[in-house]
């Protein structure tokens, strides 16, 4: 009984996390029990192996990159605060938040922070640019062995060509934002069709039916 009490979440911590991430009280306790069930070593932190144990994540082509996003530079363990901070990026933007204090620091789930999360999935060395190599790496992860090097190279070249506006053969964060938002404005009819399934404004980042169910479960 004693050891269990020490791993329980204290009220002050819940309040801090709430302020930092915007999750509700019940969502935080729910995610905390999820965190502890993943934490097989019972030491209050998760390692990469703990994430790999989730089968649906292990078979995701970008699984390793996503797991990486949870761990700060050079560290191998993530605690609950770090876990929540990363998950906070995926919280949907609620309308009432837009009217909040405009001088407060940007919330973790703001549009640009979501895009930054996606940008960092590409930009492994954190130099704020997606180089051709980095793009190729992610492409290779997504297609496996099914596309040849030359074809993949030409896809990468074309992508950089379309997105690169300042001619440095790399994609900066601003260019990335523009490239992701472009398709949203192309054709209104297909746009409406798509919003039923995947709310496009930032690709598939916003909430869809599955996410809605998930966050309802958390509530």
């Amino acid at each position: 009984m004693g050891s269990r009490a020490s791993t329980l979440l204290r009220e002050e911590e819940i309040e801090e996390i709430k302020k930092e991430t915007g999750f509700s009280h019940s969502q935080i306790t729910r995610l905390y029990s999820r965190f502890t069930s993943l934490d097989k070593g019972e030491n209050g932190t998760l390692s990469r192996e703990d994430f790999q144990r989730i089968p649906e994540l292990a078979i995701n082509p970008l699984g390793d990159r996503i797991i990486n996003a949870f761990f700060p530079e050079g560290e191998d363990q993530v605690n609950f605060r770090g876990f929540m901070r990363t998950l906070a990026h995926f919280r949907p933007i609620e309308d009432n938040e837009k009217n909040k204090n405009p001088t407060a620091s940007e919330p973790l789930n703001s549009r640009s922070n979501k895009l930054l999360f996606a940008f960092r999935l590409y930009d492994l060395d954190r130099d704020d640019k997606i180089s051709r190599d980095e793009l190729l790496q992610v492409l290779r992860m997504m297609v496996g062995v099914n596309i040849s090097d030359e074809q993949l190279g030409s896809i990468a070249d074309r992508t950089i060509q379309e997105a690169d506006t300042n001619g440095d053969s790399c994609i900066s964060f601003q260019e990335f934002i523009k490239a992701s938002l472009v398709e949203a404005n192309i054709n209104n009819t297909s746009f409406n069709h798509l919003t039923k399934k995947i709310k496009i404004l930032m690709g598939a980042f916003f909430i869809n039916a599955t996410e809605a169910n998930l966050l309802n479960k958390l509530a």
């Binding site: 502890t36 292990a58 297609v143 062995v145 009819t189 399934k197 930032m202 690709g203």
Partner: protein, 390 residues
Amino acid sequence: LLDLDTQALSLHTTWNSFLLSLTDWATLRIERGVNKDLDSASEFEMSDIFYFARRGVESIMDDEVTKRFSAEELESWNLLTRSNNNFTYISLRLTVLWGLGLLIRYGFLLPLRVTLAFTGVGLLVFLTSVIGLLPNGRMKNFLSEKVHLMCYRICVRALTAIITYHDSENKPKNGGICVANHTSPIDVIILASDGCYAMVGQIHGGLMGVIQRSMVKACPHVWFERSEVKDRHLVAKRLSDHVQDKSKLPILIFPEGTCINNTSVMMFKKGSFEIGATVYPVAIKYDPRFGDAFWNSSKFGMVSYLLRMMSSWAIVCSVWYLPPMSREEGEDAVQFANRVKAAIARQGGLVDLLWDGGLKREKVKDTFKEEQQKLYSKMLVGTQEDRSRS
């Protein structure tokens, strides 16, 4: 475009929902490309990673598999400490109730049950050995049946298991195979107290081994040596030999291969469905409010598990005997297994999962990731082929 859909559906059938959502998304992407009036309909877009990122984080928040290997979470507390993960002091009255419950369970129920358990097991070993001395014949079978039933019923009382049997007209008959979902070793006692079965399993040492060896004296069970278990042909041969002998009892098998927490049914191993005998599916559903029957073998050994069982309030469960099924024309063993699994899941109100229960201990195979990659590549490359054609 349509080819992409049908191809995806005929791939590995276990990946239906996952691949379906991927193809939905892929189709929409392609449609979006087609609707664009641009010359170069871009196949790959940087935002494609959003889909995979979202799926990944969704599975981190909650996934269908890992939660099946630990006890089900209850909505309200049933006064057992073990069921409440956030056990803290709430009120005096609740603590007093809990203390009273503790007293009753450990002071009164537990000793009573342990005595019964020892009696039941002891009688089983002794009486089956005695019967084993008799010559084979109707008398032996009759006595063996009576003895087995009696001892199992004593064990049922030892656990205070309150069992409701439904549809007993479908009870398994000789020459058939009984398959059921697996939650704990108690499943065996529950089923065997209502009918006689031939057990299948590996020979253990210790007390288990003693019980197994004496049981087989009274009537034929199928016990394997550890070395024989790996040899699939040998296993299949022995099972089919047993099944073909109509005088022998129906075989009891748990095709999941491991204990699952009774909220879902996981992949059935196809071995028992290849033999060609009639399959009698049985669904077992425990009521978690009285005691959690799931055996989390990585957390508890057998003895501590049994002690926990005997100090719960009761084991309440329902058993449904489903109508017999046989393999149909043109159906292979895997499809047959999935059909039986779906029937059991439907009856027991369990989630029908295609994941392998072996994921409890092992890593998932890379082939599943490779299939997703293949599908995504088709989407990229496929549109290029369309364009070169037009």
